[in-house]
Amino acid sequence: MGDEHLISKKEVLEQMGISYGQLYRWKRKGLIPETWFIRRSTFTGQETFFPKDKIVERIGRIKDMKGEHALDDLAEVISEHVNAKLQIAFGKLKQVGWFDEELIRFSGISENERGTLSLRDALRLAVLKKLRRSSRDEEIELASRTLDHVIAKTGMDLIAVEGKALHLFRKQLSGGGISAEISVIVIAVDGLVVDPEMRRIESVDLAAMLQQVKLDLAKLCGPEEAGAELLGTEDKTNGREEHE
């Protein structure tokens, strides 16, 4: 962190041809993660900077998705993805990068009779997918259960608050000639301190992940009826014919 190229808000507006109103609106809608807003004091006063590549890519994406439809419609579709516990067609998931059939079986997320899964499970999958590179099977399973438990208890919006991340730690324990390694899953906000013997294997920023999932999904499918008219003419021509 800190080494990324930064771009000032003024430059973002100018380069992407957007207004303050739009930028703030997208921020409020959760389309641009809080953590991307980096406040700095400069000689001209307080300024906000963004990680350049990320913000340019994200705004490009938001503008793409907008197509000819009003931004508010888009925001509505996206927010409904969270609120309405949207069901996402399994077939669709294959089109997004974080989908993985093996993980689905593995995490105990099952396809229901309608061939869909909830956003909650989609988020869980996305997180597991990220963990998978570096984790063992039982750790993925542990993370899956932890997430499921937390989401069931506090809901989606509360787990994906700014700075909240899921961490996987491992720690070596030895004594009496026997040594064992334990795995620990922690969900915490920034500033978590653990003992130095805990090795951090992987961290997943949950808020950023949820945004990613929302964007991916909003692109792929809308809520059944609303989506039909709102995202109806999107570039995916063959993308939306699963109705049951």
Binding site: K9, K10, S19, Y20, G21, Q22, Y24, R25, K27, R28, T44, G45, Q46, T154, D157, L158, V161
Partner: protein, 246 residues
Amino acid sequence: MSEEKKSVSVSGAGVIAGGSYSRVSISGAGKISGDLYAEELRMSGAGRVNGHCEVVHLIVSGTGKFEKAVIADEMKVSGVAKVEGPVKVKELKCSGTFRASEGISSEYVKVSGQLHVGGDLESEIFRASGGFDVRGLLTADRIEIHPGGRCRAREIGGAKIDVRRYSSREHAGLLNSLMRALSSAWGGEVEAELIEGDEIYLENTKADVVRGKQIHIGPNCEIGLIEYSESLTVHDDSEVGKQSKI
């Protein structure tokens, strides 16, 4: 889950267990222990919820304290309310005193009393005629402030921002001059480090930096730096340190 939800009221002193209810009313001193889900929660006495509070209508006319998150469609505070977790509502009307330790996210916010926010305040529409103190960012598509006291936010950002000493539309004639007299007696003003928007009109405002497309600075402002991309006008009774077209 399928059983009928009960209503409950405390008029003396009592503790209610958390859970799902239809209506909950506290007119004496009441405590709700655990998470509360209800259609309506009314606190006209002294009430406290020590879990999450998820209700459709939340009305605090006495004192209410919420130790975790508050989620509601409508929240009205005419007494004193304090929320220690995040606040997520559709509509917030505060004519009393409302203190939110974390952030507030809403679609419509109206403040005629006092509002204190420890984090950010996000809304589609924000209207204030009282006073407020937002420690983080105050953002809304439309921000209308008639400062009736000290109005402070670290940053204010949105599409349209309008700060006027009194509302000339709403109070005509005698009432208008009364409002004007009162508001100058109270000396209501807006203070922010940064104000950003597409269309900005300011009166009685102190800010380090103002950035926008079309900026009109009315009377009684002190602005350190203005950066605008389309137009700028500055009233004679205001001071502007530097200005630049970007």
